[in-house]
């Protein structure tokens, strides 16, 4: 809870600062865009959070986004599939990828880093091979489908040309609610948190830790798949070699910024979404404040580092305070019972 307040405070701070320095930040157009992109990245960040909670990592997210986006365009424009069939197919592919990762990591005991690093290379290569490395455009034939990514829903009571909610934001909210319920209200969510902290103890308590871990990797890859569909529809013309590149790093960064520990067992869905928002707002601020875009990575890296350092210092302070309080309580107890 404290973590969410911290990261939420950071989000507000960056927003206010940017808004003051350049009022264009709060223009309807800019807000809608930022919210849309936050939502797209939010989807993949929520996914990776589950894997990070198990103490694992998924480096293949960007390539899954690329593969799913490329496949979708290829199936629709080259193979003439119907939109529902193509979307179902690509999501199935991402689900298969998640199952594969999970099985390799649990049954063969391969390290998540290695498995998903190979995935990163493999799926990117596959995307480029299938499409012959040609960019594919959806053109104007799929306006209905594209509404998933670029559609807007007007807020009742507001004028027609004012702020409207981007559809991806609604998609993210649905996913977030499901994810939060899963993590906090089901036994599987509790199992995830427990095994992320101590897999051995979880197993000794009768939890099928392998199954739970596989579920986490499936959630991650399917989220990347959903993200892939949305990203592809958003840009309308996909580059198999570039779509989704580095997105795994944004997703992981958002999760860590939002309170997930790479040691496992820790993390909240709200935090992760706010984390994704911070990253997008920073990116937007760099553009809108005319900071040289070459600095983008450096600034984002510095902010994340600062966040993690602050978190660690706060944690240490809390430990110290606890020890001091305990000592004081003991001494008070001793003073009240003369020996």
């Amino acid at each position: 809870m404290k973590k969410i307040l911290g990261i939420g405070g950071l989000l507000v701070f960056v927003c206010v600062l940017t808004g003051v320095l350049n009022p264009d930040f709060v223009s309807v157009y800019n807000l809608q865009n930022t919210l849309r992109w936050t939502s797209l990245f939010g989807v993949i960040s929520v996914g990776v959070a589950f894997v990070i909670i198990t103490g694992g990592i998924d480096l293949s997210i960007g390539s899954v986004v690329g593969l799913v986006g490329s496949l979708l365009a290829w199936l629709l424009t080259q193979k003439g599939w119907s939109a529902p069939a193509a979307v179902a197919m690509v999501l199935l592919v991402s689900l298969g990828i998640g199952v594969l990762h999970g099985l390799l990591i649990t049954k063969l005991r391969l390290q998540p880093f290695v498995v998903t690093l190979c995935g990163l290379l493999l799926y990117r290569g596959a995307a480029r091979y299938i499409t012959d490395d040609q960019s594919l455009g959806f053109g104007t034939a799929y306006e209905g489908l594209r509404r998933l990514a670029i559609g807007k829903i007007p807020i009742p009571g507001l004028a027609a040309d004012s702020f409207a909610l981007p559809v991806p934001f609604l998609i993210l909210m649905v996913i977030a609610v499901i994810a939060a319920v899963f993590l906090n209200r089901t036994i599987y969510g509790r199992y995830l948190l427990a095994l992320g902290r101590n897999e051995t103890a979880a197993r000794y308590s009768g939890i099928h830790t392998d199954r739970v871990k596989i579920i986490a990797y499936v959630i991650c890859s399917v989220s990347a798949g959903v993200g892939g569909v949305l990203f592809a529809l958003d840009v309308n013309s996909i580059q198999p070699s570039g779509l989704g590149e580095f997105y795994e790093l944004y997703a992981i960064a958002a999760a860590v910024l939002g309170g997930c520990s790479l040691r496992g067992g820790e993390g909240t869905i709200t935090g992760v979404i706010i984390g994704a928002a911070v990253l997008r707002v920073l990116y937007n601020a760099i553009n809108i404040l005319r900071i040289p875009t070459h600095l983008e990575f450096a600034i984002i890296g510095a902010v994340i580092l600062a966040g993690v350092i602050t978190d660690e210092l706060v944690k240490r302070y809390a430990v110290k305070r606890r020890a001091v309080r305990q000592l004081a309580a003991e001494q008070a107890h001793k003073a009240s019972v003369p020996s």
């Binding site: 036994i187 509790r190 902290r197 979880a202 305990q326």
Partner: protein, 508 residues
């Protein structure tokens, strides 16, 4: 024989040390004379290890002083302790097993030539050290090719090479075979005659009787007494260690065994694949499983509980054959396990008392996959009350509880499942005397309620005090069964070391 009036080589005065939640040492004093074997004994949690760690520079005391040759010294690090000639040989060996013997002996202070390690000199200087302790191995042998006993000899050689004057050995025989232990004793005797003082920490009173010139007993972090060579005997030592009449401490009454609850038939474990194991535990019966470390007791419990795969054999619970390939299978059959390593296997330390207590029962109490929070709260409240878990509340992080209360949480996890069979592996390891007594009481209560209790313990008193019946294991086999009236330290030790007693004559 050592002159008891000689000036002490090492002296500890009024040492105190506090850890979060416990006072580990309370004004403890100790003298080590030149060229003596001083045994330091006490139950788990008596403060032996803490005291030794302070002497070896691993930890610093809160108050009190350490004197060497009559002069106060401050020991801030292991390196400083070694510099003063005080070397601790840990229970778990600290060798780099990918390096050779010579490299291990000189680890951290390698002789150098032109900035590079002078291997020739290492080997040249290792040789006489190895000869001195009777280890017939080339210093070039890799440590991972040595048996445990030989590795321990390397540790001793390492200590000697740094001119150790006081050698502290923490439970040195805990993982040695009988033969290896005897060899160790010879080395100890020889070191003593060379003027090295040895502080010998052990649970095994037989060993202490054989080796020690003097015994210092610690209890609950305090000096409990001291025995001179001629006073050393088993009963005296136990009395000082426990601090009260043993029969009172264990308020054990024989339980009338009910129907068969757990039956193990021909089970083979990974560790001892050659031997198959049969045993039976009845409802309402407490059966102790005794033996030396490495006898295969833990492995047996782990196989029954489905943590490790079984290599053949059958488990029956209440007459029903059960296929166990994962702890969940065992749990569903009504088995619970309080594991050996509470912090690694028993608890998710960073989670709350509530979350730990409910972990095994979440599945049973679920409503279509969702947590049943009311039921969880009920279980938590009930277990905290029934087991008298001392915690500020259900949301307290388990890490911050004392060892005894942590162990109660582990027990509570299983009690919430109403088990038919409860397996306990070293249930009182590392917890204080008061909590120990409560764990015993809980075990008794469970048996009264008809739970079949099978517990592993390396503490003789516990086996003798708590068992309705004891099974003794040696190198993977059950070497004998002792009924309550046949239980004695000698009988158990005999069987535990593979000594004779016809098993056929035991099972009536």
């Amino acid at each position: 024989m050592v002159d008891a009036s000689a000036a002490p080589l090492l002296e500890v005065r009024q040492l105190s040390k506090r850890f979060p939640g416990v006072l580990a040492l309370r004004s403890v004093s100790l003298r080590v004379l030149p060229g003596e074997v001083l045994a330091v004994i006490g139950e788990n949690g008596a403060g032996k290890s803490t005291l030794m760690k302070i002497l070896a520079g691993v930890q610093k005391p809160d108050t009190g002083e350490v004197l060497l040759d009559g002069r106060p010294v401050e020991i801030n690090s292991v390196r400083e302790a070694i510099g003063l000639g005080i070397v601790l040989i840990h229970q778990e060996l600290n060798l780099s097993d990918n390096l050779d013997i010579g490299a291990n002996i000189f680890l951290g202070r390698e002789p150098r030539r032109c900035g590079l390690i002078d291997k020739q000199r290492i080997f040249r200087e290792s040789q006489p050290l190895l000869a001195r302790i009777g280890l017939e191995q080339s210093p070039r042998t890799l440590v991972n090719q040595l048996a445990i006993g030989q590795q321990q000899m390397v540790e001793i050689a390492k200590a000697l090479s740094s001119q150790a004057r006081v050698l502290i050995m923490d439970e040195p025989t805990s993982s040695l075979s009988q033969h290896e232990a005897e060899q160790l004793f010879r080395v100890v005797h020889q070191l003593r005659s060379n003027g090295v003082s040895i502080v010998y920490i052990s649970h095994r009173l037989g060993e202490v009787r054989e080796l020690a010139d003097r015994v210092v007993v610690l209890r609950d972090g305090e000096n409990a007494g001291e025995l001179a060579r001629e006073e050393i005997c088993h009963d005296q030592m136990v009395k000082l260690m426990v601090g009260r009449d043993v029969s009172q401490f264990y308020q054990h009454q024989l339980h009338a065994p009910g129907p068969l609850a757990l039956e193990v038939r021909g089970v083979r474990t990974l560790a001892h694949a050659r031997h198959s194991i049969d045993l039976q535990v009845h409802a309402g019966e407490i059966v102790g499983l005794a033996g030396l470390v490495g006898a295969g007791r833990t492995e047996l419990l782990r196989a029954i509980f489905g943590v490790d795969p079984m290599l053949g054999g059958e488990i029956r619970v209440a007459g029903q054959s059960v296929r166990v390939s994962h702890p969940r299978d065992a749990i569903q059959a009504g088995i619970g396990l309080v594991p050996e390593d509470r912090k690694e296997q028993g608890l998710v330390l960073e989670m709350a008392v509530r979350e730990n207590l409910s972990l095994p029962s979440l599945r049973r109490d679920q409503t279509r996959g969702f947590l049943n929070r009311e039921r969880e709260a009920d279980i938590t409240r009930q277990m905290i009350g029934d087991l008298r878990i001392k915690t500020p509340g259900p949301e307290q992080i388990v890490q911050f509880l004392s060892g005894g209360n942590q162990q109660k949480v582990v027990l509570g996890k299983w009690l919430a499942m109403n088990p038919k069979v409860l397996l306990l592996d070293e249930p009182t390891r590392g917890i204080d005397v008061g909590a120990k007594r409560e764990i015993y009481r809980l075990m008794e209560e469970l048996a009264d309620k008809g739970v079949a209790v099978l517990f592993v313990s390396s503490e003789m008193e516990e086996i003798l005090g708590m068992s309705d019946r004891a099974l003794v294991m040696h190198e993977g086999r059950i070497t004998g069964e002792l009924q309550r009236e046949e239980l004695s330290e000698e009988a158990v030790m005999n069987l535990a070391t593979g000594g004779g007693r016809n098993p056929a004559g035991v099972s009536q």
